[in-house]
Symmetry: C2
Subunit: 79 residues, 2 copies
């Protein structure tokens, strides 16, 4: 079973990396980009067979290691 | 209109960052993780109103700046 975790900075937390991308896109002639936020995506190959149980396990991984929940939010998707 | 770009290393390209995460998860007691791949997600706020046109524009951004198409694959999603 595969799980996909998407980790983004929380709204309101400054994202200088996203801002740098926006600036670079503007320089390359891509107007019309009002804002950019960058985050991480982590794809996990799991041995688990129960989707609900797998999701709970992956949420524990997020809380414990993958995300910094002070400034980041995460979403878990079983695919 | 919002677009979400997901950038992952191509299959077969070594992902040491993902491997480090897998190792760390094992150390924290999360057994049953067979593999981990890490990638980037970029959320763009676009002024465009036409979804098809926006997607084409974002694909150009990927080819030109966001992804290194030698080793990375990308997918664009209009949300």
């Amino acid at each position: 079973m595969k799980a996909r975790v998407t980790i983004m900075l929380k709204d309101g937390v400054l994202d200088p990396q996203g801002e740098a991308i926006r600036h670079a896109l503007g320089g390359l002639g891509h107007k019309g980009v009002a804002g950019v936020r960058q985050g991480k995506v982590i794809e996990l190959d799991l041995d688990a067979t129960d989707a609900a149980q797998a999701k709970t396990e992956v949420e524990k991984m997020c809380e414990g290691l993958l995300a910094n929940t002070v400034i980041e939010k995460y979403s878990v998707e079983i695919v």
